[in-house]
């Protein structure tokens, strides 16, 4: 007899059906995270087991803080256009307000010569706006992921601005009529081999990676859970045939197929997603199948069948919650491996189309330009940080769902 059963035995109360069970302990969730945000919306009641899981999750400090850091980074990069952009957030010109980040205005709006979209970084146009008493509110970083810095002090890839020596700045300073290196528009992490700002590309690249990972994880989980559920619940021939199919399917060399497909189709975000999805959905199938196989013989499943409850309802209402524990534990790890796959493909040059902000492409630039260590270092630290955070979160989730911890 282990400690748990002993404890349960000792806690179990003497029987008297007229005495109602002890009142349920109030879920005492502290409503604030480190940023003072509400952690759980008030008004939704969580089952005690989920409250205990949340407490276990919080008890793992590293995972808990990782989650917050990751969420902050994710939410911030979701608004990348408002942080790093070559268009001002707000423009006041001739008594009227403009929002260039959201709307596109032709140059003629501001007295320019062409009907094309305004290039707000153009010094000629800036001068035109300034002459009419215009005012521009810029995002903190004045470059978008595809903005080429035309005033590079050194040949691309160019150093971070704060590392430049006075001699290196001299040419640009003279051209722009500025006094010192500090007056230049900063490239905080330098530029890549095409003169684009590394920090801006990191922000956009992070967003693409996380979104890609998230969508791939969710879609492949949904497919995987559905396939596993059907196999496990019905068993027999369905299970047998499906299992053999999956065995064959997983033995298809994924990478080669990817290379072939990407040479036929133009690899965009959704094409890549689709190709990777073809293979990533299998990962959860075995797990969910095992849970359903185990669960379908539980007495409460039998009881539901005896009530005449349909198969779909039994699967959804009674069995799926059991499988969700195992699935939830896996999700952060699936997500980190999805991110890794995308990065690897980009690194090899079979990923997102040229010009897209991507961490893998940054890494491959770093490899090609060893004399410009800021490229490789920036890419390395971003990928390392993102994957570490995801793994730490995953560990904490795993702890939180550990049944041994949930019940003691």
């Amino acid at each position: 007899m282990d400690a748990r059963t002993l404890l349960e035995k000792t806690i179990e109360k003497a029987e008297d059906p007229t005495i109602p069970p002890e009142p349920r302990p109030k879920p005492d969730i502290e409503p604030a995270g480190p940023l003072g945000l509400a952690v759980l919306p008030i008004g939704i009641e969580f089952s005690p087991i989920n409250i205990r899981r949340w407490r276990n999750f919080k008890a793992n400090r590293r995972g808990y803080w990782s989650l917050w850091i990751f969420l902050v980074l994710f939410v911030v990069t979701l608004f990348a256009e408002f942080i790093a952009n070559d268009k001002p957030l707000y423009l006041r010109y001739d008594g009227k307000s403009y929002f260039p980040v959201i709307f596109t205005y032709p140059e003629t709006t501001f007295g320019g010569d062409f009907e094309t979209a305004t290039d707000y970084r153009d010094s000629y146009l800036q001068k035109l706006i300034a002459e009419k008493g215009g005012f521009m509110l810029w995002p903190p970083i004045h470059y978008s992921y595809n903005t080429h810095n035309l005033d590079l002090p050194t040949p691309a890839p160019s150093k971070p601005t704060w590392m430049l020596t006075a001699a290196e700045c001299k040419a640009v300073l003279e051209r722009k009529g500025l006094n010192s290196c500090g007056d230049l528009e900063y490239n905080w992490l330098g530029t890549d081999d095409q003169g684009r700002d590394v920090l801006a590309r990191l922000i956009y690249g992070f967003r693409v990676s996380v979104l890609f990972g998230l969508i791939l994880t969710i879609v492949s989980s949904v497919i995987g859970i559905a396939a596993g559920a059907i196999q496990g619940y019905f068993g027999g021939w369905i299970d047998l045939l499906f299992q053999r199919f999956i065995e064959i399917w997983t033995s298809v060399p994924e990478l080669y197929l990817l290379l072939i497909i990407s040479s036929v189709l133009v690899p965009g975000f959704f094409v890549l997603l689709g190709i990777l999805l073809l293979f990533s959905w299998v990962r959860l199938v075995g797990l969910v199948r095992a849970e359903f196989l185990r669960g379908r013989n539980f007495e409460y499943i039998q009881a539901a069948r005896a009530l005449g409850v349909s198969n779909a309802v039994i699967m959804f209402r009674h069995l799926l919650p059991n499988a969700m524990v195992a699935t939830m534990t896996f999700l952060p790890f699936i997500m980190s491996s999805s991110v890794m796959t995308l990065t690897a493909l980009d690194f090899l040059g079979f990923g997102l189309p040229p010009g897209s902000p991507s961490l893998g492409e940054l890494l491959s630039q770093g490899k090609a330009n060893v004399q410009a260590p800021w490229l490789g270092l920036a890419g390395f630290f971003t990928v390392a940080l993102m994957l570490s955070l995801l793994i730490f979160i995953g560990e904490a989730v795993r702890d939180a769902f550990d049944p041994r911890k949930t019940f003691t």
Binding site: K13, E15, P20, E22, L307
Partner: protein, 546 residues
Amino acid sequence: MTTESLLSVRDLSVAFSHGAHGGPETLAVDHVSFDIGKGETVALVGESGSGKSVTALSILKLLPYPAARHPSGSIIFRGQDFLQMSERDMRRVRGDDITIVFQEPMTSLNPLHTIEKQIGEILLLHRGLAGAAARARILEVLSQVGIPDPQSRLKSYPHQLSGGQRQRVMIAMALANEPDLLIADEPTTALDVTVQAQIIALLKELQQRLGMSLLFITHDLGIVRKIANRVCVMKEGKIVEHGDVERVFAKPEHPYTRALLAAEPKPDPAPLQPDAPMVLEATNLKIWFPITAGVLRKVVGHIKACDGVTIELHQGETLGVVGESGSGKSTLGRAILRLISSEGPIAFMGHELQGLRFKEMRPFRHDMQIVFQDPYGSLSPRLSVAEIIKEGLKVHHPNMSEHERDERVIQALKDVGLDPATRFRFPHEFSGGQRQRIAVARAIVLEPTFIVLDEPTSALDMVIQAQMVDLLRSLQKRRNLTYLFISHDLRVVAALASHLIVMRQGKVVEAGAAADLFKNPKSDYTRALFAAAFNLDTAPAGVVAQ
């Protein structure tokens, strides 16, 4: 009885702390004192959670320390206090001076080791015996515990033995080093009644022959009366009454002891109703599981879980199905509800069920329900009580308003004696007996005519068993229900059944009106079953399983 005390437990308390460090503590055992004399049998009785097992485990310091703690007390054995002893010294005591037999013979033996190896291990540890000397001793103890042909059993693995034989091997292990005290922690609870009687008889005989002391832990007062010299009744961690068995049974002092003694289910079976409409009629029902072999999966034979069972059941009657485990009685219940496939006609209220598909069965499920044995496993842990009970209403009355459903749930909860205000809680907040009431509420909320009760009382304590039997009986009377009551516990069956089927290895051994059958059982097997259940008597060899 002897006065010389072998083991003396004084003022013992056990506390369990929750969580990792310094969490709140639960006092599982509360200042308990008792003595065991040489050659004496002391029984610790109480319902689950009363702290009797914890007391027994703390004697050998087998509790999960440091989560468990002894705030007070001493355990004196031969002048030494175990609580002060080091773990190293304790190991010398365990398995040599004091041994223990656990409840579950399935998990107490290592499935990967032979019988010889498992018994040989403790001989080697404590006495340094090995080789031929050890084998001689092993054969000796195996024949002592009544294993037939021990020589051929030496190389057997646990799975090759029956439950009763495994428990005998466990006892042999416990006896191997001739202990002074044997602790038996519910050694017969997991066994069939007939095997239970054999094990009790064995323990009693061994104890007298070897002159050892026995601490017997059980919740079954019948066993206490049979085996013990003295009894300690435990409730909520305290010993509320102790004394000689004759005295306690004749003149119980504490109200709890009186309640325990009065907890026998009162026999008041449902009357036979030959004129009432026929609810269930199954003729020559067969459930054969094929055994396949070879590459082509050729059927080489069948496991006959049910072989030619015929049932006739009128409205308002209760059919008791009894038999040892593996006799096919649960399988029969599920086959009648068409939860597993079978052969042979099943007529329910005049309609033939055999051959109907799952969807075609649905209208009938409204009238036929099932209550399972395990109150922990039969309720979905993630749904509230109201949702659990409502599930059937949603299937069979899809147009019923939510309000009306709620009314029905409240009524069902009232009928089973639970407070309707508790319906928003989750199953884990209820005790075993309360959960079983919820399971009954789920069955009756649809107002069925027929309920299969698959060992609904077996997982419950004695006092609650009696309450459950009363509840089932009153529900039957009020709603004119028809029961198929499956149980291995003949006392409960006797309290409810109007008909009786005795099953063995899938076949009906004997069937008939319960009153006649209990009075004059015709077959040897039925007689042995009754003797074991009502008097804990063993049958002559060969009649029942070992």
